[in-house]
């Protein structure tokens, strides 16, 4: 699949939501954990060799599942094949928890659900649509109808499951 790699590289240099050196192991059988600089920028997780400026790779975090593995470790897998896991080792369970929470909220789809949720809450409290002041209340991407019907494709384990 072709993609605009230069823009992806530029994105990897932007300020990150989270960045740390973690142990990382790919989904292939027999892969070994290596130290990687892992950086969360918008809905991408970049990983670098610790001393390099260009990322080795990136994971788009849509439709992913983030799960606790051993204490201090978590995995990321994707809805189409949940058995294929990227493993990450943190230095503490606290750091692990922090990463898992951040990753679960990192997808565009999660953000969209948050927006719809808050919009709904504000509308319930005030009777007014808070998006009107921005002129985007009719924007298709912010409607309830833009959410998937099965409710599970954003990120399994996210908190926002209840919408009127």
């Amino acid at each position: 699949m072709r993609y605009n790699e230069k823009e992806l590289q530029a994105l990897s240099r932007q300020p990150a939501e989270m960045a740390a050196e973690l142990g990382m192991r790919g989904p292939k059988k027999g892969s070994v954990a290596k130290r990687r600089l892992v950086k969360l920028v918008v809905n991408f997780l970049f990983y670098f060799r610790p001393d390099e400026a260009e990322p080795l790779g990136a994971l788009l975090l849509e439709r992913c599942r983030v799960a606790q593995e051993e204490p201090g470790g978590f995995s990321i897998s994707f809805v189409e094949d949940l058995s294929r896991k990227y493993h990450f080792e943190c230095c503490s369970q606290e750091q692990c928890q922090e990463w898992m929470e951040a990753l679960r909220r990192a997808s565009y789809e999660y953000m969209r659900r948050s927006l719809i949720f808050y919009r709904n809450e504000i509308r319930k409290m005030t009777g007014k649509d808070p998006l009107e002041q921005f002129g985007i209340s009719e924007e298709a991407r912010f409607q309830l109808s833009s959410l998937p019907t099965d409710g599970r494709t954003a990120c399994i384990g996210s908190q926002l499951d209840v919408l009127d």
Binding site: M1, R63, D81
Partner: protein
């Protein structure tokens, strides 16, 4: 750079509602002819397929940081997706009709994750402020620009849509949204960088409101160090 392409392909073709879809003419490399491709916009990713029924995308354009402009080339209903910095050549795409063109330009202009997060952050703040204060004061009839943003604990300037309440004792600002500075993990996002970044957002939003524009459509331009100098589309009033 490795990318989880298989997951990308599944995200492109999953049966969740899309943000926009349709045929567009896409020009290939320099001087190459243009091909009619089926485009699907999901979130901040614009996928393109050989045909509507194709199972796998031919490619994807990450839209983060782009600006969208109308272009006046030999093709009618054409627009360009520009990126500052990295890529020199924009993607020139052409729709089949004026309506389709407008739909695409609008959808792509608002596709960035940054934009979405900005709106979410604003709503979070409104909601938090409403829960602390009285709901009647929460939403002003006309948004008014704030003259001085209130600084937060970690030094980020916050901009609020709420009018100042002189009779109410200043309240503790709501917790910052879930975005965390990476300062604790390393120098990758220093305070100065974050401050500059949020400053850009605040300035862009302020100038939007002072100028009387009600849309955030042009907001994404704030993410580029240089303006592109072209014509930016605005919402139809």
């Amino acid at each position: 750079m490795k990318l989880n392409e298989r997951s990308l392909a599944f995200y492109a073709t999953c049966d969740a509602p899309v943000d926009n879809a349709g045929f567009l003419h896409k020009r290939g490399g320099r001087g190459a002819s243009s091909h009619r491709r089926w485009f699907v916009l999901r979130g901040n990713m614009l996928f393109y397929f050989e045909a509507e029924a194709s199972r796998e995308p031919l490619g994807v354009i990450l839209l983060e940081g782009c600006t969208v402009e109308l272009v006046d080339v030999r093709e009618e209903f054409a627009f360009a997706v520009h990126f500052a910095g990295g890529r020199s050549r924009p993607y020139v795409l052409a729709a089949d009709s004026q309506a389709a063109l407008e739909g695409w330009v609008k959808a792509l202009s608002r596709a960035s994750f940054h934009y979405l997060r900005l709106v979410v952050r604003e709503l979070e703040q409104q909601l938090a402020a409403m829960r602390e204060g009285s709901p009647a004061n929460a939403l002003p009839a006309n948004p008014s620009p704030v003259s001085n943003p209130r600084p937060k604990e970690n030094g980020r300037a916050v901009w609020s849509a709420l009018p100042e309440q002189p009779t109410v004792a200043p309240q503790r600002p709501p917790l910052p949204p879930r975005r965390r500075a990476s300062a604790s993990n390393g120098p990758l996002a220093s305070f100065a960088q974050l401050h500059e970044q949020y400053g850009l957002e605040v300035r862009a939003l302020r100038s939007q409101w002072r100028g009387g524009h009600t849309g955030l459509a042009g907001l994404e331009v704030s993410w580029h160090p240089s303006g592109s100098g072209g014509t930016h589309t605005r919402d139809q009033p």
